[in-house]
């Protein structure tokens, strides 16, 4: 028994906080006997506080070491829930999300989330168990070639075949995941490595030769940008997730204020620039605002900062922003010129670039241009037809914003509700809006809200969900209740796969093939799991249950039964230019 206590103490000796370490007047090296002990020790040294995971055969040694560790483990109810939770954690903190699962199905269940993190540049380190090295390649029980499977959707992946490689692999994995353009890194851990013997080695400095990160731009490049800005009459900042990743939001605000250049944002960039500011023109692209899409079409200088010219942003490429000179600043060289050719390509950190641009004190005359944007916004502001009887989804989002003072962390699933959450909630700070932009993963929003709430226990976290999306990872309700996470789930319940139905209405003659979907009674579901369930069917009820949900100290499901066939507008139809927006649908 004494032996056991002593062991536990020395595991924590690295923190210098144990009595035994103090009495002998020296810091003992952490007690490491197995590869798994070394892994957990090094994870702590890497600053890991939370792991989202699910145990299984190939990771039993790791879970055994984790059992005595101070690292918090969140047991989700599906591996996909674990990775989306880690993404949510990473997106709201900027820290690296960490996932631990077993081999085979445990690992393959992560693939969607890994691909999601890759597309949205989210820093995640994923550890998967693997069968013993002796068994690899023999179709062993729960064996899957997760290295091969995830190669196209990870920034890098490793299989640790020698325990002596583990410290360097971990150091490099965390460094690669959360530097440059962030992304997921996977570490595959054969069971004999984690179960086998190991001795303590400290976490080394990262040393991935061949991994290069661009830093500041060349002075000449910044001068070229400055010159274009000075000569521009209709300049426009087109900003995205890169601003948030690099922590450049405040610099962006200063730069926009100094130059009086208006700002449009991608879905991933929402919150990078405060929505309430008069220079903010809104989201652009397929469901962008009228003014934003007019602006991108009409501008004479496009400052594309931390964006990747995604097809949902550009519409038909041949018609994209034809009258503008273009500057593209991104930390990923492969994004430059991938979809759109630009006059000034800059591979650099956007934060450094903005700092250097601020030194130029540029003051282009944008008065007429800002007035024009204002006029477009007045011509067709975001709108919907509200009544006191029908509950409209847009109104639900507005009410959520009202009752949270626009300050909540909002995560979304994917579909119509995602667009309404993007358009009708005024995000005022970076890392406030968490959504699956690139991959468009239904089932992302709820577990990512879980991860966000773990990271930010004091903040209000709302998951705006669709009735269909929510059912994709509904099992995580148990995790939320078990962990006592007070997050609020707002289901925009329209009894349809809303976005699919919208496309079927517009482009498939209203043939609603498999887009009508039924749901369980979400109030009863909430109660069965031990959460609070509330329902609203009109605006007055909606207002009441939101107030009740926000005041409630625990998880709540709000089931908003909204009008069925509401559509997201404006909409740039596929294959059209951004200026060819459909503003309203008329049945002909």
């Amino acid at each position: 028994m004494n032996q056991f206590i002593k062991e536990t103490d020395t595991v924590h000796a690295g923190e210098g906080a144990t009595d035994s370490a103090q009495t002998v007047g020296q810091v003992n090296p952490p007690n490491v006997k197995t590869g798994a002990d070394l892994l957990i020790t090094l994870l702590k040294e890497a600053g890991v506080e939370v792991i989202f995971g699910y145990p299984g055969g190939a990771v039993l040694p790791i879970y055994d070491s984790l059992y005595d560790s101070s690292i918090r483990h969140i047991l989700t109810r599906h591996e996909q829930g674990a990775i989306h939770a880690a993404e949510g954690y990473a997106r709201v903190t900027g820290k690296t999300g960490v996932v631990l699962v077993t081999s085979g199905p445990g690992a393959t269940n992560l693939v969607t989330g890994i691909a999601d993190a890759y597309m949205d540049s989210t820093p995640v380190v994923v550890m998967t168990g693997q069968v013993t090295m002796e068994s690899i390649g023999r179709d062993a029980f729960q064996e899957a070639d997760i290295m091969g499977i995830t190669m196209p959707v990870t920034k890098h992946n490793y299989q640790v075949r020698d325990i002596n490689d583990l410290p360097q692999v971990l150091a490099d994995a965390f460094y690669i995941a959360n530097s440059g353009r962030p992304g997921p890194v996977l570490i595959d851990l054969p069971k004999n490595i984690t179960a086998g013997p190991a001795t303590y080695q400290p976490l080394p400095q990262p040393a991935a030769r061949g991994y290069k990160i661009p830093t500041a731009p060349a002075k000449e490049q910044v001068e070229a940008i400055a010159q274009l800005i000075s000569g521009a009459k209709k300049p426009l900042l087109y900003v995205g997730g890169g601003i948030i990743s690099s922590g450049a939001s405040e610099l962006l605000r200063q730069f926009a204020k100094q130059t009086q250049i208006p700002v449009v944002s991608t879905l991933m960039g929402l919150g990078a620039y405060p929505a309430g500011d008069e220079q903010f023109v809104g989201m652009l692209g397929m469901h962008g605002t009228y003014a934003a899409n007019k602006a991108i079409t009409d501008c004479d200088l496009l400052l594309a900062f931390g964006v990747r010219f995604d097809d949902r942003v550009t519409g038909k490429l041949q018609m994209f922003s034809l009258h503008s000179k273009k500057v593209h600043v991104d930390i990923d060289a492969a994004e430059i010129g991938k979809n759109v050719q630009v006059e000034v390509p800059v591979v650099a950190n956007i934060k450094d670039t903005l700092e250097m641009l601020l030194q130029h004190h540029l003051h282009p005359d944008t008065k007429d241009w800002l007035a024009q944007l204002k006029a477009w916004d007045n011509e067709w502001p975001l709108r919907y037809h509200g009544t006191s009887d029908d509950l409209k989804p847009q109104q639900v989002v507005e009410l959520l914003a009202k009752h949270t003072g626009g300050q909540a962390i909002v995560t979304t699933e994917v579909g119509q509700h995602q667009m309404w959450a993007a358009l009708f909630y005024p995000y005022s700070r970076p890392r406030q809006f968490v959504t699956s932009g690139g991959l468009g993963t239904m089932g992302f929003g709820f577990p990512s809200a879980l991860g966000a709430q773990v990271a930010e226990p004091e903040k209000t976290v709302i998951c705006v969900a669709g009735d269909a999306s929510f059912q994709m990872n509904i099992q995580e309700l148990q995790t939320v209740v078990e962990q006592g996470l007070p997050l609020k789930i707002a289901i925009i319940n329209n009894r349809f796969l809303g976005m699919v139905r919208q496309w079927q209405q517009f482009f498939y003659e209203k043939r609603y093939a498999e887009s009508r979907i039924s749901s369980p009674d979400f109030v009863k579901v909430a109660e069965a799991y031990g959460a609070l369930g509330l329902r609203a069917t009109n605006p007055a009820e909606a207002e009441a249950i939101i107030a009740q949900a926000i005041a409630h100290d625990g998880p709540v499901i709000m089931d908003f039964v909204v009008k069925e066939e509401e559509n997201v507008f404006p909409m740039v139809p596929p294959g059209k230019g951004n200026h060819e927006m459909t503003l309203e649908w008329s049945e002909e």
């Binding site: 290295m147 091969g148 190669m151 196209p152 920034k155 890098h156 299989q159 490099d172 690669i176 991935a208 030769r209 061949g210 991994y211 290069k212 990923d332 060289a333 492969a334 430059i336 010129g337 991938k338 050719q341």
Partner: protein
């Protein structure tokens, strides 16, 4: 301009690195005409030579996407550089004793070596650029080619041009 492009890629000699690069070419839609891999001048580092084709935009995407891979130490597009580019081929051709003299005359100017001789066939080894090897194959075809194995091209910059290409990376 869609032209033949030769990429020289220095990579860490680690398991799976060929898959990483070949997979990247495949999923980005870049065609691979030939690929050769072998040890480079430094221990633990391999040089890959990939022959492909495409326009300038394609070349830029190859350079930047391949350059992003953590195991890639360096990548250059040698298409516009002065390079030495060589391929080796083994050609097994029918050669009855009555035809051997005639075949020997064809082989002479190509400076090939006959590396195997059988009762009714011979195997020749030729090194050179693609055109030279194609020419020999064309001349031998009438005699009856039994098997061909080509290595694909490998290449290095000519002396004195290394600096220019470093700047291009």
């Amino acid at each position: 301009m869609d032209i033949e492009r030769t990429f020289s890629i220095l990579v860490n000699d680690r398991p799976g690195v060929l898959t990483r690069i070949a997979g990247l070419f495949a999923r980005r839609g870049f065609n691979i005409s030939s690929i050769t891999v072998g040890s480079a001048e430094e221990a633990g580092v391999s040089r890959m030579t990939i022959v492909s084709h495409g326009d300038e935009a394609m070349a830029m995407q190859v350079l930047t996407q391949v350059g992003k891979l953590v195991d890639v130490l360096d990548v250059i597009d040698m298409s516009k550089e002065k390079i030495v580019k060589r391929e080796l081929a083994l050609i097994k051709v029918k050669a009855e004793s009555s035809k051997r003299q005639e075949i020997s005359h064809i082989l002479d100017p190509f400076r090939v070596s006959v590396v195997d001789v059988g009762h009714s066939s011979i195997t020749v080894q030729i090194t050179g650029d693609e055109e030279k090897i194609d020419a020999l194959i064309g001349l031998l075809r009438p005699y009856g080619i039994i098997e061909i194995s080509r290595t694909g091209a490998t290449a290095l910059l000519r002396s004195g041009t290394e600096e220019a290409s470093d700047a291009a990376v």
